[in-house]
């Protein structure tokens, strides 16, 4: 199974990278303009032609693609124009911040989804359920950037409780306390943007599980309701949740892009936006590829987790 997923991942990654280069070739935009910036308008024809030859942009796009791929394989990721440093350095500087943000929000979202989802299903129709479930439906109608702006307006500006931009206060040194304070809002917003789907999924599959034979069986055995829910209903209800976690990864990436952009969080997702607005092609192409790989690996992990959690699947091979 894992092997089949890997075999599936390779063509997807290749197709995405080819697609990016093909789209670049078809675009009306001249890569030299991106490279030269303002000088594009003043540079002479000859100088431009020479530069194009130097950069290889005069060659057909698939040749450019192959040479890019060759460099990639040997570990040369190219140079980012918008950040003025090698792509590898951009990656090393920004990836940890993105991982921190995504990991913290994912933990918050999963814990809240499991806790509240279980509570609302076990006490269906109770006041928590009547509060949380419509709240989730409303949140599903809010794009992450609106939630982010709302949080900025309310907590950052209205109440002035928390900082709304960057890693640290202006001029402050990088410290755990500073980063933690600046992490609160972005992480909460990112968690909140994923929460409704996760929570409603837990609630729904738990409600379904609560009517299944094995739960009725456990209940008729005389087990306490807490045991019935936690040890009989929840374990089976969690299986679809794990799959959903894998399937929501692309949305999580999208959420990260928006949250980093709104909160000026210096992560990779923000670099995606920067490289796109400034047409920093080496960085954009690499980040697209990296995200695709990350999502594929994530869903692979979800599949493996599913197999580990469900003995029936493992038995089928």
């Amino acid at each position: 199974m894992a092997r089949r997923r890997l075999l599936f991942a390779v063509p997807v990654v290749l197709a995405v990278s080819v697609g990016v280069f093909a789209a670049a070739a078809a675009s009306p935009f001249d890569p030299l303009a991106g490279y030269l910036g303002d000088r594009y308008l003043t540079a002479s024809q000859e100088a431009q032609a020479k530069l194009a030859e130097q950069l290889g942009t005069d060659r057909p796009w698939f040749e450019q693609y192959l040479s890019w791929l060759g460099h990639l394989v040997t570990g040369d990721l190219g140079t980012s124009r918008s950040f003025g440093q090698p792509v590898a350095d951009v990656l090393a500087e920004r990836l940890p911040w993105t991982l921190l943000l995504v990991a913290v929000s994912l933990v918050i979202a999963v814990v809240l989804a499991l806790g509240l989802g279980t509570w609302t299903a076990a006490r269906r129709g109770g006041w928590v359920d009547r509060l949380v479930t419509p709240g989730c439906l409303l949140l599903q109608g809010l794009p992450p950037f609106v939630v982010a702006l709302g949080a900025v307006a309310l907590f950052g500006i209205g109440l002035a409780w928390l900082p709304v931009a960057g890693l640290t206060d202006a001029g402050a040194d990088l410290s755990v306390g500073q980063v933690a304070r600046h992490l609160v809002l972005p992480a909460l917003v990112l968690a909140l943007s994923q929460l409704p789907w996760l929570l409603l999924n837990v609630r729904q599959s738990l409600l379904r599980a609560l009517t299944e034979d094995h739960v009725t069986g456990a209940r008729s055995r005389g087990l306490a309701e807490r045991t019935v829910v936690a040890r009989h209903a929840l374990p089976t209800a969690l299986l679809p949740f794990v799959t959903l976690l894998g399937a929501r990864l692309p949305e999580l990436v999208v959420g990260a892009v928006l949250v980093e952009e709104v909160f000026s969080w210096p992560g990779l997702a923000q670099a995606v936006v920067t490289s796109a607005t400034e047409l920093d092609f080496p960085l954009l192409a690499f980040l697209t590829l990296l995200t695709t790989v990350a999502v594929l690996v994530g869903s692979l992990i979800a599949d493996v987790a599913y197999v580990l959690l469900d003995p029936r699947v493992a038995a089928d091979g």
Partner: protein, 273 residues
């Protein structure tokens, strides 16, 4: 239950549509006209939703933005549905390796974050409406393709299809005359459910400064504008466009799920027979 959702959803949508179409028309004000003397005014009787940093009336501009966003979303939904329905139907009818390959492609497209593809496409074809629409349509057809495929597969074995085949109808004729019309309700529901995604996608791209140019009102450009006004206390620049976006999304979702129940109910009744 489904019916009530449908009624509420349709009512809200009709209200929003009326607002989006009528207000710019009746007001007779060009939403792009700037008036810096009236910049960033809080809601008042003169400006119901207040004004933005360039003094543009937000009541009119939100209506214009809503109209643009809904139009783009509708075009995208139609395009995705057509692409998805064709791919899904062909895949189901062709079967064999064509089907397997198509489904792998669907999985592949789903594996890539849609917004990322959108960002790449829109960045390369800057400011072009076609690029925005294409970036949405090209990433959102997969859901429809899956639904239509499974629908066609389940319909293929029904008696009237067998009868048509025995009657000497060609494969494409069967698809065209019997299978696609039968799969249509499901495809329509999928199209409606696509709308909120398309609205989000467009507004997100515009919000990132990659979609429509800032002077063209769309929910996304309005919210991008709100971002800087917010820091100066202009809460109304966020609230009203966001309200439009949320209402539109939720109303369409309600209509979609109401329709889905409608389509699903007769089938469930059939299954119990």
């Amino acid at each position: 239950m489904g019916d009530r959702r449908l009624v509420v959803g349709v009512t809200v949508l009709a209200g929003l549509a009326a607002y989006a179409v009528l207000v710019p028309w009746v007001a007779g004000v060009d939403d792009r006209v700037t008036d810096f003397a009236a910049a960033r005014q809080a809601p008042s009787w003169a400006h119901l939703f207040g004004t933005d940093s360039a003094g543009r009336d937000l009541f009119v501009r939100t209506a214009a933005g809503l109209r643009v966003s809904l139009l783009i979303a509708a075009v995208c939904a139609v395009l995705s549905t057509v692409i998805g329905a064709l791919v899904g139907a062909l895949s189901a009818v062709a079967g064999g390796w064509v089907d397997r390959l198509t489904m792998r492609v669907v999985d592949g497209v789903n594996a890539v974050p849609h917004l990322l593809l959108g960002i790449v496409l829109v960045a390369l074809f800057r400011g072009s409406l076609v690029a925005i629409i294409a970036s949405i349509a090209l990433t959102h057809w997969t859901q429809v393709a899956r639904i239509v495929r499974s629908e066609v597969l389940s319909l293929r074995d029904r008696p009237h299809v067998d009868a048509a085949v025995l009657g000497g109808a060609t494969r494409w004729r069967v698809v065209h005359r019997h299978l696609l019309p039968a799969a249509l309700p499901q495809a329509l529901v999928a199209a409606v459910l696509l709308l909120p995604h398309a609205v989000w996608h467009e507004s997100t791209l515009s919000f990132l400064g990659l979609g429509l140019p800032p002077h063209r009102a769309s929910l996304g450009t309005l919210l991008e504008e709100a971002r800087s006004s917010l820091l100066l206390g202009g809460w109304w620049t966020l609230v009203f466009p966001a309200l439009g976006l949320v209402l539109a999304t939720l109303a369409v979702a309600a209509v979609g799920s109401g329709l889905r129940d409608r389509v699903a109910l007769p089938r469930r009744a059939e299954a119990t027979l």
